[in-house]
């Protein structure tokens, strides 16, 4: 958040620099099952963001002292690759990615039926290949599809999106320039079936009215992303049926529904 509201990012007609309206999402593309080795995987684009997610597990949990005898632990690692941003990012976790990994892990701990897999670890890897603001939301969206692709039972899929404030207006799904020069950023993730908020962060400056409007916009957008997640899994499932002739293997579909 540069907090610099002098940079004009929204035209007088309410059109943003990439041509979107204030309540419009970037083009979103979701594909499930894009990697061979991982137990589940997904590829997501939110505009110019390119994000891969892979899931391994439930598998034996190392180191052993981290095992929970009552349930699986979720270990999510969010990472930006070195050339995903303009200035090369040194490989390895920085403080930002440690925090994001933690809050995404916590979010999935709630939706995955972890009690089904005691003593195991479910490992979720999110790699941001190309970044353009909103990577944690794109990553969470991708990881959720990858978990379903891995056949891991969940309460629901988890869509995620950021809302923000730019030029004193509440806008949906900030891209890079808007994020750099905007006034507030509010990433959320939700459980569509119950309407509960699973992840929420905010920084910048919003009045109470702006916050309420932002939350409303975000919740609406999450529902649209949810549909795209379900579509991707449905395509994946139908492809699998055709390709591999396994009409009985319903794990991804199951996962998607509950």
């Amino acid at each position: 958040m540069g907090g610099n509201s002098n940079v004009k990012l929204i035209s007088d007609d309410g059109i943003r620099i990439d041509g979107r309206k204030v309540d419009e999402l970037r083009p979103i593309r979701i594909e499930a099952g894009v990697l061979k080795r991982a137990d589940g995987s997904a590829y997501v684009e939110f505009g110019k963001n390119k994000v891969l997610a892979a899931v391994y597990g439930p598998r034996e949990c190392h180191p052993r002292h981290m095992q929970n005898p009552a349930k699986a632990i979720i270990q999510c690692k969010y990472n930006m690759i070195a050339f995903s941003v303009n200035d090369r990012k040194r490989p390895g976790p920085d403080r930002r990615s440690v925090e994001i990994s933690k809050i995404i892990s916590e979010a999935f701990e709630y939706v995955v039926f972890t009690e089904n897999f005691p003593r195991t670890s479910i490992d979720v890897y999110i790699e941001v290949l190309q970044a353009n603001a909103g990577t944690r939301c794109a990553g969470l969206t991708a990881a959720s599809v990858a978990l379903a692709d891995a056949g891991i039972p969940m309460r629901d899929l988890v869509p995620s999106v950021a809302v923000g404030k730019v030029n004193d207006q509440v806008v949906l799904d900030l891209q890079k320039e808007e994020d750099n020069f905007g006034q507030a950023d509010l990433p959320i993730a939700m459980i569509p079936r119950t309407g509960e908020i699973l992840l929420m962060q905010m920084d910048g400056h919003m009045t109470r009215a702006e916050f309420d409007r932002a939350l409303e916009l975000g919740v609406g957008a999450c529902k649209r992303i949810y549909d795209l997640q379900k579509d991707a899994l449905a395509r994946r499932y139908s492809v699998e049926k055709t390709d591999e002739e396994q009409p009985d293997e319903g794990a991804p579909a199951d996962a998607q529904e509950g």
Binding site: R95, L198, M202, G204, M206, F211
Partner: protein, 257 residues
């Protein structure tokens, strides 16, 4: 900081009291524990404060040195915020580099200071592109009994409020107080079986399903939020937390000089 296991008996006790609308220490759901703030506790720091919220004890110090600005903010001072969950404070804290818990704590406090524009960073520029003040805020948890986010944030703003820029010792003119523009306050609540409890103790945190920290300024505007733990909040619970933060923030703000 693996979330420590707690006895089932203690857990039940908290749950049963909550069902009757009560807390273990008899506080109201929106009541903080007793708070003491000792500003200027450390002489070797440019600013400092020791803050106790109940038994939670946090020492915050601010050190300032001269350095180069970041390339993209050539006329602004630099802020660096660090939290140390030292093993002195809890049997569950371990020695070593900051783990995810101390990183989250530091980053949430940092955003609460930075994004609220609490400190006028432009006033910390000495010569654009060349020299600015680098401000290190280090937060040490000495005794841990829950609600680190609010105790650390209170400590940080009290220490900043108390900081003198050491210009003289650096041959840059006379010392002056750190230019403070806003006074954001964070209020943290947890959800336990659909109840919202402000300023959770460690025992309450262990039972809690979800945590929400809301930081507001003197106008009641939102400056930062952070949801934590594995559970979820309904929209109504979020609105309740926001309103509580606005209301209690005004009381807490009076405790800072």
């Amino acid at each position: 900081m693996a979330r420590a296991v707690m006895s089932e008996i203690k857990k039940d006790h908290i749950h049963k009291l909550l069902a009757k609308g009560r807390r273990v220490d008899n506080r109201a759901w929106d009541e903080f524990r007793p708070i003491t703030i000792q500003p200027g506790y450390i002489e070797t720091a440019e600013g400092s404060a020791r803050v106790k919220v109940g038994n939670t004890d946090v020492l915050v110090g601010v050190k300032m040195t001269i350095g180069e600005p970041f390339a993209d903010t050539p006329n602004k001072g630099v802020l660096s915020t660090n939290a140390e969950l030292i093993p002195m404070a809890s049997p569950n804290f371990e020695s070593g580099p900051p783990d995810e818990n101390s990183i989250e704590l530091a980053r949430v406090v940092d955003r609460g200071i930075r994004e609220s524009q609490m400190v006028d960073l432009e006033a910390l520029c000495i010569e654009p592109e060349k020299e600015v003040w680098i401000m290190f805020t280090d937060m040490y948890v000495l005794d841990y009994d829950g609600n680190l986010f609010d105790a650390a944030f209170l400590g940080a703003i009290a220490a900043l409020n108390n900081t003198m820029v050491p210009a003289k010792a650096n041959d840059r003119g006379d010392d002056y107080p750190l230019p403070i523009r806003h006074m954001p306050i964070s209020v943290t609540a947890v959800q336990i079986e659909n109840s919202i409890l402000v300023d959770p103790t460690l025992d309450e945190e262990k039972v809690a399903e979800a945590r929400l920290t809301v930081t507001t300024d003197e106008n009641g505007d939102l400056r930062a939020m952070q949801k934590g733990l594995a559970g979820a909040f309904t929209l109504d619970q979020i609105y309740k937390c926001v309103e509580t933060s606005q209301r209690l923030g005004n009381d807490l703000r009076k405790l800072i000089g």
